[in-house]
């Protein structure tokens, strides 16, 4: 990964905007921002962003690759789509944020110990297993993502909710034994694998371009 990162730095020296355009989901749109700031002001998580979207776009243009990719900002996105709805320039900001986050993670530059990164990864791993999300397992793995002791503490804190969910049959403890899933799990996993390969190849080829 870091090898890929070095190659990318080499290839796109001075032109992070181009790198984003080539390799980040919906990255081509970054150039269209006119710095009005409506996205930054519209974000419900606004106060927690070190750099709000519009500033990230400016940082991309100003070639601040490290700062952008190691930022925890993109991980604050709640996918509420306020920014997209209000952007006067049609930028799919939510997707660009997801794209930047994914790209940072892929290159190993994303901040360590960022809870959303972990949750997001756990979610993905969970769904990769059977093609559908197993909420109980996801929940439990979430509680234990920072180690056993903290996990027990968190799970204890959440026990009332868990109990409430169970009592209303909205959480099934038996799910731990298996749960829902697609029938053709191998095919499903192959499909995702193929998609991942194609995507990785695209990025690798951009280095060679």
């Amino acid at each position: 990964m870091s090898d890929l990162n070095t190659q990318l730095v080499e290839k796109y020296r001075n032109n992070f905007l181009q790198e984003v355009k080539d390799n980040v989901e919906e990255g081509d749109w970054v150039k269209m921002c006119m710095q009005c700031g409506v996205c930054s002001g519209s974000c419900p998580m606004g106060p927690y962003w070190d750099h709000p979207p519009q500033e990230i776009f400016m940082m991309i243009r100003a070639n601040k690759r490290e700062e952008v990719l190691s930022s925890n900002s993109m991980w604050m996105c709640t996918s509420c789509y306020n920014c997209i709805a209000r952007c006067p320039r049609e930028l799919p900001i939510t997707h660009i944020m997801h794209g930047l986050a994914h790209y940072a993670k892929r290159l190993g530059l994303a901040p360590k110990n960022q809870p959303t990164i972990k949750f997001s990864q756990l979610f993905w791993d969970n769904l990769m297993k059977k093609g559908r999300v197993n909420e109980l397992k996801l929940g439990l793995s979430l509680y234990f993502m920072n180690g056993f002791a903290e996990g027990v503490k968190k799970a204890w804190k959440m026990k009332d909710i868990g109990l409430g969910m169970t009592l209303t049959r909205r959480l099934n403890p038996l799910e731990i034994l298996g749960g829902h899933g697609v029938k053709d799990q191998t095919g499903f996993q192959n499909m995702i694998k193929k998609a991942q390969e194609l995507e990785a190849a695209r990025i690798e080829s951009s280095v060679k371009k």
Binding site: G37, V38, G46
Partner: protein
């Protein structure tokens, strides 16, 4: 009215705002026969609803008075109000326009004595004041309205008020039997000067114009400043009628935005800069204006005006497209949320009143336009040879401020003159 004489050497001007009047007068004063039609009951258009012009801070009525006098003095010019074009056929040098005229229910006998107004009772929303107040069903649209004749609102026809108005008139000026009229006139060239309309602020949902009382539009703010306007020249909050002294101006309200108007409406930055001086004019040191903007577009000597406003400590500039407005339910203050992008500063600013600098939407309705004409993506008429002898003037051609509209209208007058001169030469 049906005695309008027109030939294919006549120039038809559609729209009697500042652009249409200019085009009509310039052509008429060059000796051409001109017919000017206007859909409202008076000429002058939107500028009549402005308090002051930028950058000179002079009053639109001043230039309008001169234009009216030019019109009164010129026998080459025929003005038809309450008239709209419903169809145009033919080609350059030989057009026939169908004109629909709504009844005024008042004829030329009217002396503007005002007796009918006193006699009637029912009140209607006053569109001249963007419905911020009411007017009676027999009315003079505004102080300097020309033609200086009263109008009966068609909604009083058939009611007692109509009879009262008729009875009150000593000059037989009220004709309740007037009907919609259709006339066909010839024209060699047509100047299309239908102007613009303020972008519908309710569509800009994050700003809550339809939900928050103290969010108003820039055009409404202009009416508030008129001593004879809906608030008697005071800046009053719609929610509680209190004077508003801390006022926010939001730029690009509907402009430069793919959700609304994609184009920059050009005038709004200057309009807000101008309106910030209104706040100071009314309240001196107590007046505060905050301008939320993306780029301040103050070209040429307007920049000097911008500098002057910037030098005013009571005017604050925030480089930000406001994200949304919520109402503080206790105070009625609109609270503006957003980020000042100059260095990333988050704000949540209450103001007593918010003025949306609404954009310019061209009033060229493509769907009902009677002949084929080239429009651009923003809905303005392009200068294009395919348009034949039809020429846009003023804001039908682009988002223009008054002086550029007049400049453009003067140019359009010549384009029309060229056509009718060609016709004249051919007929000689």
């Amino acid at each position: 009215m049906s005695d309008v004489v027109a030939t294919n050497q006549t120039i038809l001007v559609v729209g009697g705002g500042i652009s249409g009047m200019t085009a009509a007068l310039e052509a008429a004063e060059t000796g051409k026969q001109v017919i000017l039609i206007e859909k409202r009951p008076f000429i002058g258009g939107r500028v009549t609803q402005l308090y002051k012009y930028f950058p000179k801070l002079c009053h639109p009525t001043c230039g309008m008075e001169i234009n009216q006098r030019r019109a009164k003095a010129n026998t080459n010019l025929t003005i038809l109000t309450l008239a709209e074009v419903s169809d145009i056929s033919g080609t350059e040098g030989d057009y026939t326009a169908t004109i629909k005229m709504q009844p005024r229910y008042v004829n030329d006998n009217c002396t503007a004595c005002g007796a009918c107004n006193e006699a009637v009772e029912t009140e209607f929303d006053n569109d001249f004041n963007y419905n911020m107040d009411k007017r009676k069903g027999a009315y003079l649209p505004y102080n300097n309205a020309y033609p200086q004749q009263f109008v009966l609102d068609s909604r009083i026809i058939g009611t007692d008020d109509a009879d009262k108005a008729k009875a009150a008139c000593k000059y037989d000026a009220i004709d309740l039997d007037m009907q919609e009229e259709t006339l066909e006139i010839k024209a060699g060239a047509v100047i299309w000067a239908t102007g613009w309309q303020p972008f519908d602020a309710a569509k800009i949902q994050p700003y809550g114009y339809d939900r928050i009382d103290n969010v108003i539009t820039s055009v409404e703010f202009e009416r508030m400043m008129d001593p004879f306007g809906p608030t008697g020249g005071k800046i009053l909050r719609p929610s509680d009628g209190k004077e508003a002294k801390d006022i926010a101006f939001i730029q690009c309200a509907g402009s430069r935005d793919r959700n609304y108007l994609r184009h920059c409406s050009r005038i709004c930055c200057m309009a807000s800069l101008k309106q910030s001086t209104y706040v100071r004019e009314k309240y001196a040191d107590e007046g505060k204006a905050s301008i939320y903007y993306i780029d301040i577009r103050a070209i040429d000597r307007f920049e000097d005006f911008y500098q002057k406003v910037q030098d005013d400590d009571n005017v604050t500039f925030i480089k930000s497209k406001v994200a949304n407005i919520v109402e503080d339910k206790k105070t009625g203050n609109p609270v503006l949320n957003g980020v000042n992008t100059e260095g990333y500063h988050r704000y949540s600013n209450p103001h007593e009143l918010v003025v949306l600098a609404v954009g310019m939407e061209p009033s060229v309705d493509k769907d009902i336009f009677p002949v084929e004409i080239v429009l651009n993506n923003n809905g303005f008429i392009e200068a294009d040879n395919k348009n034949g002898g039809i020429f846009a003037a003023g804001c039908a051609s682009d988002a223009l401020d008054v002086n550029r509209a007049v400049q453009n209208a003067t140019a359009s007058a010549l384009r029309a003159v060229q056509v009718v001169n060609r016709v004249a030469r051919a007929e000689d």
